[in-house]
Amino acid sequence: MTAVQVSSRSEIIRKFRRSKSGVAGVLLLLALIVMSIYAATAVPLESFRQWNNPAIWIDLPKSAAPAWTNIGFGPKVPQHIVLRQGDAEISSSSDAGVTTAVHSYKIDFNYDTYPNDFMLLYSARYGGTQPVLQIDFVRPDGNEFQVYYASLPPSRQEINDFSGRLFSTDKSIAANLRSYSSLFSYPPDPSSPQEMIFSDLHERKVLKGTYIIRETFLLFDQQDSVTNSGVILGGKVYGVMGTDDLRRDLSIGILWGAPVALFIGLTVAIAGVIIGLIYGVVAGYKGNRTDEGLMRINDIFYSLPTLPILVILSVTIGSKLFLITGFLVIFGWVGMAKISRSIALQLKNMPYVEASKLMGQSDWKIIFKHIIPQLLPLTFASIAISVPSAILGEATLSFLGLSDPSIPTWGQILHDANTAGAAARGLWWWVVPPGLMIALTGLAFVLIGNALDTIVNPRSRK
C-alpha cells in the first residue's frame, strides 16, 4: 500500500465532478432534500404527528389507489370526493317562523363504476325544538330521490351543538329508497344505496352526469342555525399516492419519511464515523498496550450480531426515535476505527509527525492537529458510505414493529403494509413507494460514497 497522499480540496472536487455515479448520487440527494423542505413547509406538522390517530383520517377512503391510475385504458373508477361547507351552494328562506336552509352540493359523476359508499356530514345548533333534516339526491335524468327525512336528536342543554354523520349504510336510507324501486325497469337493490342512486333506470350501469345532493334543514326557532355540512363520496382512488387500510394519506407519510430518514442516516453516520476516527487514530498512534486493548474491544463489537442486539436494546430500553438513533451509533463506529487505525499507523512514522514529537508537542495535539486533518477526506467518504446501513438498520427495526409511533418512517409504513398483507392483496401503492424511497436514499449515499472513496481512499485506488 502506498503512503497516504494528501489531495487538495479543489482536486477532490474536480475528480468528483468527473465521476458520473457521484454526480448522480448528488442529484438524488438534492431531490431528497427538496422533498424534505417541501414536507416541512407544505405539509402541516399536525397531520404527521397524528399519523397513528385514526380519528384524523376518517374522511379519507380505505386502501384507495392513487388518483392517476385512472388515466389510461380500462374503466374509470370513481375518485374520492370530499366536499366541505365552502363548496356548497347555500340558500335559506323563512316562512311562518320556519327557516329552511338548503345546502346543495354539485358532483360531476363521470366514472364507469359505482362509488364505494357515501357519507353526509351535518352539524346544527338548536334549542328546545329539534330541527328536521331532509336529504335528496337529484339525478341527471331529473328524478329526485329523497333518501332521508328525520329530526335531529332532542337537545340535552339549553343550546345544543350537534354534529352527525349519515352513512350510506343507514337503514332508513334503504327503507326510503325502496319506494323508488318501481321507477327501475329491473329490480334494484336498495340495500346498497350508492349503487341504486347512481344507476341508470333501464340498465344495470352507472348513470353519468351531474348529481346534486341537497341537505335541507328545517329550523323552528330564530336562534337555530346550521353550523356545518358536507358530502363525502367514497371513491376507489385518492390523491397522489393513495391511502392505506387505516385511511391514512400515504403521500404525507412518505413525504415526511424523507427528513426523518435523512436525520437518522446522517446523525448515525456522522457520530459513528467521528467516534471511530478518534478511537482508531488514538489506538494507532499510541500503539503498544493501548492499541492492543482498544482493538480487542473493537473485535468484540465486530463479533456481535447487529440486528438481534438492536432488537433487544429497543425492546428492553425503548423505541423512541432518538434512542434508536443512539443504538445505531453503538454499532456505527466499528469499521471506521479499523480503517483509521491502519492509516494512523503509517502516518505516525511520517517525518513531520516525528518532528513535532521531538519538538515536544503533546500527543493529543499531534493527533488532532497533524493526523486527523489528513484523514478528513476519507472521513467524508466513510460518512457517505455508512449512511445507507443506518437508514436500512432503522427501517428494519421499524419493519419488525419496533418504532416510534408518533413519527412515521418508511419502515413503519412497510410494517403496517406487511401486517395487513398488502402485497398479497395487490395494494402495490402501499408497498412500492416507501421501499423505493429507502432504496433511493441508500443509493444516493452509496453512489456519493463510492465516488469519494475511489478518489480519497488509497486502498481502493488501482
Binding site: S21, R296, D299, I300, Y302, S303, L304, P305, T306, L307, P308, I309, V311, I312, L313, V315, T316, P388, L392, A395, T396, F399, L400, G401, L402, L414, A417, N418, G421, A422, A423, A424, R425, G426, W428, V431, V432, P434, G435, I438, A439, L440, G442, L443, V446, L447, N450
Partner: protein, 335 residues
Amino acid sequence: MVIVLFATLILTIALLGPTMDNILRNAIKFDVIEMVNNNKNLKFPTPADRQAYINQEIDRREMLLGLDQPWYSPQRFTNTVLRVMVLDLGQSNTLTSESGSPKVQDIILEKLPKTVLLFTTSTLIVTVVGLYLGAFVGNRTGSIWDRINSTFAVFSSSFPTWWVGMLMIFAFAFAWHIFPSQANPLTSPSDPAYAADLLYHMILPLITIVLVGFGAWAFTVRYFVIGILREDYIAAKRTAGIPESKIIYSHALKNAAPPIVTVVALSLAGSLSGAITIEAVFGWPGMGSLYYEAIGTLDIPIIIGITYILTLIFVITVFITDLLYAYFDPRVKVG
C-alpha cells in the same frame, strides 16, 4: 479469539441480565398471588397480614432462585453462563411450540431446522453463483457484463431484502398466481407430502434472497480475482499454454479462497439476521417469523432466547472463520 467469544457472551448477559431478572421476579409475584388466591386454607385476619405473607413468600422464592443477589454476583453469573450453554432459556409468555410446550428451548429448536434449511440453501446458491459470476466478470473488467454486474451490485445492496420479498409476493402471488404468498405450508408435518410442500413454499423466499444477494457477492469475488490475476504466476501459466478457463476457475479461484471463505462465513452468519425479516415477510415457519411474532406480542423470554441463539451462532461462526482462515492460508497463525 476465545477471549472475544467470552467477552461477547458477558456483554450479552450484561445487556439482558437485568431484564431476565425482572421477568423472573414478575413470574414469581404472579405465581405467589395466584397461589394465595386459590388456596382456601390460607386465612388472614387483616389485608396487611396477607400482604406480609405474600411478600415473605416472594422473598423466600427469590432466595431459592438466587434472585436476592444481583445478576453479576459470581455465583449467579456462572449459573447463567452454564444455563445458556445448555440452552435453558426459561418459559415463554404466550407463544407455544406446535406440540404445545411453552419452553423457549422447545419452541426455538422446533423452528431452527427450517431457518437453517432456507439459509444454508440460499447461501450455497448465492455463493456458487457469485463465485463463478465474479470470476467471469473479473477476467473481463470493463466489459458490458462487468458494468451490468457492478451496477446491479450497487442497486441490490441498497435495497432492503424484505421489501424485495414484498415485491416478489406482489408479482408472483398476486399478479401471477405461480407461488403461494405465505410460505407456511398447510399440510400437517406428519403428512408424507409435507416435505415436497415445504420445498414448494420455499422457492419464493429462496429466489428473493438469491436475487438480492448474488450481485454484491460477485462484486466481492471480482475484486479478489482481479488482484490474483495480476500475479506473476498467472502470467507464467498463461505463457505455459494452460487454457484460460482452467486458469481462472481452478488456479485463480483457489488462491482467492482464503479471503473468500472468510466473507462467505461472515455473510452466512450475517444473513441469519436477514433471516428474521425475510421470514417475517413470507411467514416461513422459522426463527425469523417467531421473532416477528414475539415482538408483536412482546413475548420477552422468546425475544431474549432467539437473540441468545443468533448471537451464539454468529460468534461461533466468526470463531470458526478465523480457524478456517489459518487452515487455508498457512501464513496466518491462530492468535
